[in-house]
Amino acid sequence: MRRIVRIAAWLYALAVYGFIFLPVIVLVLFSLQATSFPIPPFTGPSLRWYQAVLSDTRLTSALVNSLAVAILSSAAAVTLGFLSAWGFARFTLPSSTLLRGLITLPLTVSYLIIGMGLLVLFNWAGLPKSLLAAGIGHVVINLPLCFAIIYSQMGDHQINIERAARDLGAPEWKVLLLITVPVMAPAIFAGFFLSMTFSWDEFVISFLLTRFDTTLPVEIWNLLRSGLNPKTNAVGSLVFAVSIVLVVLFELTLLRRTPA
């Protein structure tokens, strides 16, 4: 009986792993396709579609745009999130629960609606579509995340260290820069990298709020109009690789926090 359960469990797990990896394997495999269609039979391997991606200036400039938006918007989100988390965790503010709820509220609203709202607002205010507009949207979606991560990590341990610093005469700004930021560094990095991956991947807000200069997911979306195309496979595989790097960095910062 035990054996049967074990074997069934293994088979089930393998089937789910298969389901999870099927599209990724197909994507990467046919990005190495030599012919013009990413469909069986496989005739590779060839790197011609990767060359095509790297010599496509629209894709490469979209990639640079995506990185810039991801880095800058994540830096803004993590800064705002950290300062507010510190404020709420260290001081008693009137209607603190309500205000904290307000900051985390965007987490419950879909990106489409956040993007729509900004589109209507910017349109009404006469602001043109731009990467800056998309970046503002990315801060809106990532700020609550950074706040939640950092706020949840502010425990008594850190409070005691800060108290010690204050007792020794450090002014608040010194406590913040020399004590709180270094002590909270793992949570800050985790918030930053998670924001990076979300911004890097975000489509609908960028789609609504940018026009000519746009981000990589939007440019990939434009590629999809040409149907199944090995070039899309190649750029998709490259994006996947970048995301994996970000996730590994995120994992490492998390691992560093948990004492082994």
């Binding site: 389901f19 609606i113 607002l121 706020y151």
Partner: protein
């Protein structure tokens, strides 16, 4: 104003200004770029596309035009199917990872299980298109083996949309359910065993009820993310059957009709809010 830490101990005097200076930028950002846009959207939804004053026409259009209704019904059906199927697939998987896989391999097994979660969302949907297309992997395999004569119509169907969604949410739910199972103290299971319960009874009466709140949080997250998503239904479902987000985007893309798009967005958000209130008592997210 007293400055007291969350653990109840008083801090040395810090002026009134400092705490507000810390939280105001984040609050201001949220008010300016989240609350204000929402208000703007509300106003916009109450105006006519071709200018003019206050009107409820955008809302009445939704409630009277059956094709608009249809999109909402489709969205709710797809979301319900996706949520149920994803939970049913992910729970046993998370259980196997947490209970059957040796401790030292668990972290790796889990990381592998959610690796494609981090692929670009657009790319992931496109990858399913490669699998499901007329001349894609599945159809080529089936016709190659002689199992079907004609390629099956898999892409541009509700089945494709659901498959793409389930793929994403199985990974998400595996993460949340796994975390839940691991947080369960082993002493509960020992106590159940000491009291004479077999593994099946222990699972049904102890493990399952204790992990139910976690499942509810995961299911709610699935609901919210699924019903508001434009990419998966647009790439995999095509235009044969429209879901709400596709309808919203269509108003902007084809006709530039912001008021109607705003009204539809607000209706969509109202549905999510109702769902939130319906399961609010299971969704108490606490500070760690």
């Amino acid at each position: 104003m007293s400055t007291v830490t969350n653990s109840g101990r008083a801090l040395p005097r810090a002026g009134r200004a400092l705490p507000w200076a810390l939280v105001t930028p984040a609050l201001g950002w949220t008010l300016l770029f989240f609350v204000l846009p929402f208000i703007a959207m509300g106003f916009s939804s109450l105006t006519a596309h071709d200018g003019g004053g206050f009107t409820l026409a955008n809302y009445s259009q939704f409630f009277t035009d059956p094709s608009y209704w249809r999109a909402m019904v489709n969205s709710l059906q797809v979301t319900a199917i996706v949520t149920v199927v994803s939970v049913l697939l992910a729970y046993p998987f998370a259980w196997i990872l947490a209970e059957q896989v040796p401790e030292r391999w668990q972290r790796l097994a889990l990381m592998l299980a959610v690796l494609p979660f981090w692929t670009s969302y657009v790319v992931r949907s496109y990858s399913w298109l490669l699998v499901l297309a007329q001349n894609g992997v599945i159809n080529r395999t089936l016709t190659g083996l002689g199992l079907v004569g004609e390629p099956l119509q898999l892409a541009n169907t509700r089945f494709a949309t659901v498959t793409g969604f389930v793929h994403f949410f199985v990974m998400l739910l595996t993460l949340t359910i796994f975390a839940n199972l691991k947080q369960l103290s082993p002493s509960y299971r020992k106590a159940a065993a000491d009291l004479g319960a077999g593994p099946v009874r222990t699972f049904l009466h102890v493990v399952l009820p204790l992990t139910l709140p976690g499942i509810m949080v995961g299911a709610f997250l699935t609901f919210v993310l699924c019903i508001g998503d434009y990419i998966t239904p647009q790439i995999l479902g095509g235009n044969n059957e429209l879901l709400m987000p596709q309808l919203v985007m269509m108003q902007i893309g084809r006709r530039g009709d912001f008021p109607l798009a705003s009204a539809l967005s607000i209706i969509l958000m109202a549905v999510v809010t109702v769902a939130y209130l319906a399961c609010a008592r299971w969704l108490k997210i606490e500070r760690a």
